[in-house]
């Protein structure tokens, strides 16, 4: 088929050694290596002399390098158009699926004060920041209009356990309403765990609510960043992570799939303490660690003088921590880094795990929606955070008055969809990581004042590039054991559900 499409470009009539379209980057920490990728995201890491020979169309036919280039679709004369098309389609399977993730802010009230609070929390007596039952029900009605056959309702805050009664009502109401609709519904609770008790835990397990929390490092770091009056926020989180995992085990659930998901928000004090951080997560029984950098939203903007850091320092911390995690895995410990797993799944498997912030187009509006306590709808949770900072750019409707199609077809959603396609982005169009990457426009809007962003100056681009440089170095290392670990991190196993 490709030979018919490109009749004049057959090996007989065209120099078979000429390269097809490719992007390339010299690895900063291994300058003798060059990463190249093509339109559909196939990749190679070549030594510099081989790369130069390839780029100049001088790789001799019949050599192993020529064969490798041909197999990976890097030669113009042999370019397999149907295979490339199929791969591009597979990488973008999520486009058109509709909003899956629905973030419900039950209240802004929170019993913890985090120095970087992205959500702009409210004091415990500010009951006016609680969602009403009517708004909660309208939000669920709205969510169930999504074109996506599977939806996840994620309870956020503030601290959602402050309104556990409302959370229970939403779960019951959503399940009841869904009986006639038949969507697949998941529930996730994002909590600091300090208001957890055995009764609540029983109910959450029985009603299939997945639990997710934050642990920002050893006790001194965590308690400094996340202040809980009259108690240790770290102590509470650690105690309940252990207890919840114990309950899952008692229920006979597969521990590799069913455990509390914990996230770290990286602040300056933890940068040098990556080993302690990884050890802590392993000791807690966590199978995954998400080394997230600080976001420029909420209180983090005001406290950055104390907790921010240059992104080059973050990349060093990331490399050290993941190096250590790989070594632990070689010794039989199961712990993966979430960023690496997301990128590696795209790089090695050719499919997209649909992580909404690292995909193109970005998930804002078309993959996720956020519902604030007062019924306002936003393209994403970060859009809601900006609203709390006085910027309404990403507000796209209200559950009491807006129609579903008007909200997801809102001009802000369209702008975000266009802005997040890297085929229109200077720098990205020439970056070999383009097929695996994505930048949420809300981030560029916040730090650069433009939805489109300037990637050369973007702190998020620096993080994504730094991580992918590291991963390609590892892939090029040829160390079989390392490759086995990285391959294992890409395995996606369905979690049908934990309570049967």
């Amino acid at each position: 088929m490709s030979e018919r499409l490109f009749g004049a470009m057959t090996p007989e009539t065209f120099d078979a050694r000429q390269p097809a379209f490719f992007r390339f980057r010299q690895l900063p920490m291994a300058p003798d290596k060059v990463v190249l990728s093509n339109l559909e995201g196939r990749w190679l890491v070549l030594d510099r002399p081989d790369f130069l020979a390839f780029a100049q169309g001088q790789v001799s036919e019949g050599t192993p390098l020529f064969q490798k280039l041909r197999e990976r679709n890097f030669l113009r004369a042999y370019y397999d158009v149907p295979a490339a098309t199929e791969m591009v389609r597979a990488r973008h399977e999520f486009v058109g699926a509709g909003p899956n993730l629905h973030i419900l802010v039950l209240t802004l009230r929170c019993n913890t004060t985090c120095v970087y609070c992205h959500a702009s929390r409210a004091n415990m007596d500010q009951v006016d920041t609680d969602m009403t039952v009517e708004i909660a029900e309208k939000s669920v009605d709205f969510i169930l209009q999504s074109t996506n056959p599977a939806v996840t309702i994620e309870f956020q805050g503030g601290e959602p356990l402050v309104r556990f009664d409302l959370l229970q009502h939403v779960v019951r109401y959503a399940n009841e309403r869904n009986e006639a609709i038949g969507k697949e519904i998941d529930f996730t609770l994002v909590t600091n765990l300090s208001l957890m008790d055995e009764e609540k835990l029983d109910w959450l397990i029985e009603n299939r609510v997945q639990i997710c929390t934050s642990v920002d490092g050893p006790q001194d770091v965590h308690d400094k960043q996340r202040k809980l009056p009259k108690a240790s926020a770290h102590g509470e989180a650690v105690k309940w992570i252990g207890r919840i995992n114990e309950r899952y085990e008692e229920l006979g659930l597969d521990q590799t799939l069913y455990h509390v998901e914990a996230l770290v928000t990286t602040t300056r004090p933890i940068l040098d303490r990556w080993k302690e951080l990884v050890d802590l997560y392993v000791d807690l029984g966590c199978r995954a660690l998400f080394l997230r950098p600080l976001d420029p939203f909420g209180f983090a903007d005001k406290t950055k003088r104390l907790i921010e850091y240059p992104r080059a320092d973050y990349v060093t911390y990331y490399r050290n921590a993941v190096d250590y995690m790989i070594e632990l895995n070689k010794g039989g410990v199961e712990i993966l880094e979430r960023y690496a797993a997301i990128f590696l799944t795209k790089i090695l498997s050719g499919v997209d795990p649909n992580f909404l912030d690292i995909r193109q187009p970005s998930g804002a509006g078309i993959g996720q929606l956020a519902y604030s306590y007062d019924g306002k709808i936003f393209t994403c949770d970060e859009g809601r955070m900006l609203h709390e900072m006085g910027d309404d750019t990403f507000e796209i409707g209200h559950v009491m008055t807006s129609k579903y199609r008007d909200v997801v077809g809102h001009e802000a959603v369209r702008a975000v969809v266009i802005a997040s396609q890297l085929d229109g982005q200077p720098d990205c169009v020439h970056c070999p990581y383009q097929p695996y990457c994505g930048i949420p426009p809300v981030h560029s809007h916040r730090i650069q004042g433009t939805l489109l962003g300037r990637m050369r100056e973007s702190s998020l681009c620096a993080v994504h590039k730094g991580i992918q440089d590291y991963l390609f170095e590892k892939l090029a290392s040829g160390d079989e054991e390392t490759l086995r670990v990285l391959e294992k991190w890409t395995t996606i196993r369905p979690r049908d559900h934990f309570v049967q």
Binding site: G409, V417, Q425, P426
Partner: protein, 161 residues
């Protein structure tokens, strides 16, 4: 009084510390007017933006502080960011032109997939009375309208069958 601003190219950039403003001369043969509009627009929340004709093919951009006093560092930051944003806008314009078809296709699929088909109620509310949409390529025209015989009264050769 307008004077050079340290660590910026003096040929293009001048600062007026009393007014709290910095100005930058942009060559239209290097940066299209669309790029100048796009780049300067991103500064509206930080400063007042004035555009004026400097000379043949040149636009002067003045970024003026909303509150005084303002430090040289901030003025330097503005003008540096403006220069970078101008380049990003100019290059992005070209890239978007080249990749327009892909971006439009993905956008339509993403938005269409998220919106789903209109309900009957929505169709009932739809206002069909508006003027027809613009159709510069004649996609909605019949073959006869587009390629058929011209009215003889208009003269000239006829095309088509």
């Amino acid at each position: 009084m307008s004077e050079p601003l340290e660590a910026t190219p003096h040929a293009f950039v001048r600062a007026d510390r009393e007014d709290g403003s910095v100005s930058f001369v942009v060559d239209e043969s290097v940066y299209p007017l669309e790029a100048i509009y796009g780049a300067t627009f991103t500064f509206l929340d930080r400063c007042f933006v004035f555009l004026g004709r400097e000379g043949e093919g040149q636009v002067r951009v003045v970024l003026s502080a909303k509150k005084l006093p303002i430090a040289d560092d901030e003025l330097r930051g503005w003008v540096g960011e403006l220069a970078n944003e101008l380049l990003a806008c100019a290059w992005r314009g070209r890239i978007l032109e080249q990749n327009r078809a892909t971006i439009e296709a993905v956008t339509s699929q993403a938005i269409g997939g998220a919106m789903g088909p209109p309900s009957l109620d929505e169709l009932e509310d739809f206002d069909f009375s508006e003027e027809p949409f613009e159709d510069p390529l004649g996609i909605a025209m019949s073959w006869e309208e587009k390629y058929g015989k011209k009215d003889k009264s208009q003269g000239g050769e006829t095309e088509g069958t």
